[in-house]
Symmetry: C2
Subunit: 145 residues, 2 copies
Amino acid sequence: MKGSFSAETRVGREGVTVTLDDLKEKMANFAEERDWDQFHSPRNLLLALVGEVGELSEIFQWKGEVPRGLPDWQEQEKLHLGEELSDVLLYLIRLSDVCGIDLGKAALRKLELNAQKYPVHLCKGSSQKYYQIHNSKDDVPQNGV
Amino acid sequence: MKGSFSAETRVGREGVTVTLDDLKEKMANFAEERDWDQFHSPRNLLLALVGEVGELSEIFQWKGEVPRGLPDWQEQEKLHLGEELSDVLLYLIRLSDVCGIDLGKAALRKLELNAQKYPVHLCKGSSQKYYQIHNSKDDVPQNGV
């Protein structure tokens, strides 16, 4: 697999640009080659994802607040962090795939829903939830975008 | 935002193909427009992600085993599932971004590491962990790909 990117991976402005479809395909091939489809039921994958979120949380658990960009972290720690973030991502993509959900399409739709739930003029600089900022009937977001 | 895809989103074989960089950029813009960068510290985002994993788990928690493709689920349930999967994805991408981790690059590297940890000839059809299948010194995967 090393050095070989499928048609779904392309070179963007800052180097390799990775698509969700590409990772989905790579995960599906990985499982198929190993005859692991038998283990990749939705709930097995969800629990695997939960396990990886635990490993991700472990990295941060005793550190107190950490500044953005992690200026004081060793390269090895950042590498480890990248691995745990990736494990969550890869199981999330695989879970979406076996559930028949188009994750990229769903994410774009969710961003639109979020923009409706949190209009700039109502939530700028505020961490309130959407049901706290929408105080008139006209501001209630519509479902089913 | 509706209907407008940046240069990082392109039309693939099956419709819109979404890149991690595109979602990263959209999330960064979303936060900046709302002056939410002040809330997006690494650990705040990690806890937000954990919260969303909880909401994702809720969807599956009392169902028992569910078959791949979710053939018996209502469209509304699948839509909801897509939203929760997306929430996890979007916080994961945002967390990676504020930590300065290139998630796409990290994910490709992790796939290579996984291929080394789980060679097809040693793990085909088996759900054993890598330290169980590597029983000779020669089979131990090398770190630092």
